[in-house]
Assembly symmetry: C2
Homo-oligomer: 392 residues x 2
DNA sequence: CAAGAGGTCGAAATGTTTTCGACACTCTCG
DNA sequence: CGAGAGTGTCGAAAACATTTCGACCTCTTG
């Protein structure tokens, strides 16, 4: 773009001449026809790439460019936030998003189809390509960006994440600073990079304050409601239950809150809960959820920009970008109850009516006042970490 | 497909001949070039459609067919539910979804671009096309299905909706049967078809039980949290506040619950709340939300199937399909408080600790037992209305 | 009314795809 | 072994599509 004269676009004829075949044969390679010998095909393909050949059909300006967006599962509000960012950023480049779920790893034809369909790029969200798929796409030069990679991606794969570790740290430190000492963690699936990072942040905070890390307080679920609910029930039922729970996602946090309710505990008076994500609903939970904000839409936006940049041929500043998380303090966290365990009214029992205690209505956190009338706009305040970009 | 010989695909030349212009001119129309007089362009376009002309460039893509899915806004969990159904159904026909937001009504070129991009269909969600866009797409024969149309669509537009009226009725009757008499409604924007239908269902129920419809208890917001929150605050602050609120969406219902909390009222003891949608989070709210279930994913699935059916050339059984809503009773509804108004602790005050009262833990609704361990799978029980299909 | 500007269109040049037949090779089967 | 059928690979030419550029027209403006 920047350098080099336009220099007469590559044409089938010159490629054919250099390859020592007819135009017809080159055309067949371009269009993926069968009747070309593998060796011939390979030779021609190399030349096509060298010459940056683009078929006229693909050159039509009228055909909108498309980027595939592949989700692991289309089953949480999480996905729509990402998608919003992606479509917004793509839209600025008159490109659109093709949404799909992760294909079966056994589906050998997928990369081929993707390429033949002439997609301009691929964004993969919280899931991983098989090695085979990845290399096939890479050799074909399809721009690829991974959001929240399952595992630490190779240095050659562009990816966008957030500072999960810092988020876990901030959340846990917040709980510690409120006076909590028995803090449980309900994390996501242990094989996910982000789960591990968040959990390590938790461990780091616990450790740093000289609290013993109790393995019994560390649980794993999927990132969904159910996992939080089930694990929380089990935690609350144990000998010496935690006074606070750091959940690996907002959805899990809701499950935890529900579990507390089922057990007759009040949040935050009897149990503090911190989530992770800051989905729009977090502000509207009862009580409004203290959580670690992930700029989901921004992640989508960033990923889309990166794909477009790669597609345009320019190099990325960094192959790995991490956006800042930030703690958003709302009302699901409070100091732990005074007496070591005034809890568990005889199963199914009523809430013990104790004397005057800070009602949920009392302004306590800095965020609360803003939250009541103003709402979400002021939510992002209180970030603990500055934006940071690291190189892989 | 079924009938007719392949009959020599349409070519630029024949269209040019019939239109009485040169191939060059037709090519320009196909590619959206500027230098074609409007009259000429229109004439040629009509012929192109008649001949089902597809440019070779577009023909090359033997791979994935695409359907555009246009959302009014990509900002609620609502959207992802719909999208999930759409992608699932499209996937079965190896078709993919291109997601975008509603284009600017002033964007004259949009239908053109859509057609030139060779899309196989269009699904529009909760929004309306301008008349101009619609007719342009219709004359080009692009398969179109509208989900939850803003207004009653013409008989020639296929659409998918739910039995909003029945849902509003069921929700309100549930509240009435619990003993409520002052029941407020916070509906969506009055210009939306679904808002009006839900509200009319509410009115019908109120009316049928000989209760006076109090206009002061009927409010409108957008379908989001904020609207529910603001309207609920205002309702709770009025002279004779309602004992129950029927919200036009789950998100609004969350806003209502939050408003109750801010005012020191308990749900459901002091205020019953019914939502609409049954988003996955509804089951995980505190308390779990009684709501009217809309089969969002099914709506998406149905719309996708209809688009594919139209694209395949077969006629639809009916141009208008309404899927059944069903009341899901959880724990945000209960009989109204005994004494006419034991409410409002002096602003900002603490919750009055009254004597033994049914704790949230006491099994009360049939759904609760199922909900605790089993969760969402059993949620759909209790539908009030059978599936129904009506013709426009 | 002349000069200029700008819109509309097609001839021809240019580029791409498809069809179809040539050729070479392999694999039967007699 | 050798004829014939089958198959894979490729190119010549035909068919198809797009772009360039100039002709022609109309409308404005001085």
């Amino acid at each position: 773009m920047a350098p080099g004269r336009p220099e007469r676009r590559a044409t089938l004829a010159v490629v054919a001449h250099e390859a020592g075949v007819s135009m017809a044969t080159v055309s067949k390679v371009v269009n993926g026809r069968a009747d070309v010998a593998p060796a011939t095909r390979a030779r021609i393909e190399r030349l096509l790439v060298q010459h940056r050949y683009v078929p006229v059909g693909a050159r039509r300006t009228t055909t909108s460019a498309l980027v595939d967006v592949v989700f692991n599962a289309l089953d949480s509000p999480w996905a729509i936030e990402i998608l919003r960012g992606v479509t917004a950023a793509l839209g600025e480049a008159s490109t659109q998003a093709v949404v799909s779920s992760m294909p079966d790893p056994a589906d050998i034809g997928w990369p081929r189809r993707l390429l033949l369909a002439g997609r301009n790029g691929l964004i993969v969200v919280t899931s991983d390509l098989t090695e085979r798929h990845r290399t096939e796409l890479a050799t074909a030069g399809l721009p690829l960006v991974v959001i929240d990679p399952v595992d630490l991606p190779g240095a050659d794969v562009a990816s966008v994440g957030t500072t999960n570790w810092a988020g876990g740290l901030a959340a846990t430190e917040h709980l510690i600073s409120l006076g909590h000492r028995r803090i449980a963690a309900i994390s996501g699936p242990p094989q996910l990079l982000c789960s591990r990072a968040r959990l390590d942040g938790y461990r780091a905070a616990i450790d740093q304050h000289g609290i013993r890390v109790d393995q019994g307080l560390i649980r794993h679920g999927d990132f969904h409601h159910e996992g939080g609910f089930v694990q929380a029930l089990s935690l609350l039922d144990c000998e010496e239950p935690p006074t606070a729970v750091f959940a690996g996602s907002d959805q899990q946090a809701f499950g935890v809150i529900e579990a507390a309710r089922v057990r007759g505990l009040r949040v935050p008076q009897d149990l503090s809960v911190v989530g992770f994500d800051d989905l729009p609903v977090a502000r509207w939970a009862s009580p409004p959820l203290t959580t670690v904000r992930q700029p989901l839409a921004d992640m989508g936006r960033m990923a889309a920009r990166m794909v477009l940049r790669i597609a345009a041929g320019s190099r990325l500043d960094s192959n790995r970008v991490e956006l800042a998380t930030g703690l958003v303090v709302r009302e699901s966290t409070a100091p732990p109850p005074r007496r070591s365990s005034p809890r568990r009214s005889p199963a199914g029992g009523q809430q013990p009516a104790r004397g005057p205690q800070p009602s949920a209505d009392t302004p306590k956190t800095p965020e609360q006042q803003a939250a009541a009338p103003g709402g979400p706009s002021s939510d992002a305040a209180g970030t603990t970490t500055p934006p940071m970009r690291g190189s892989a």
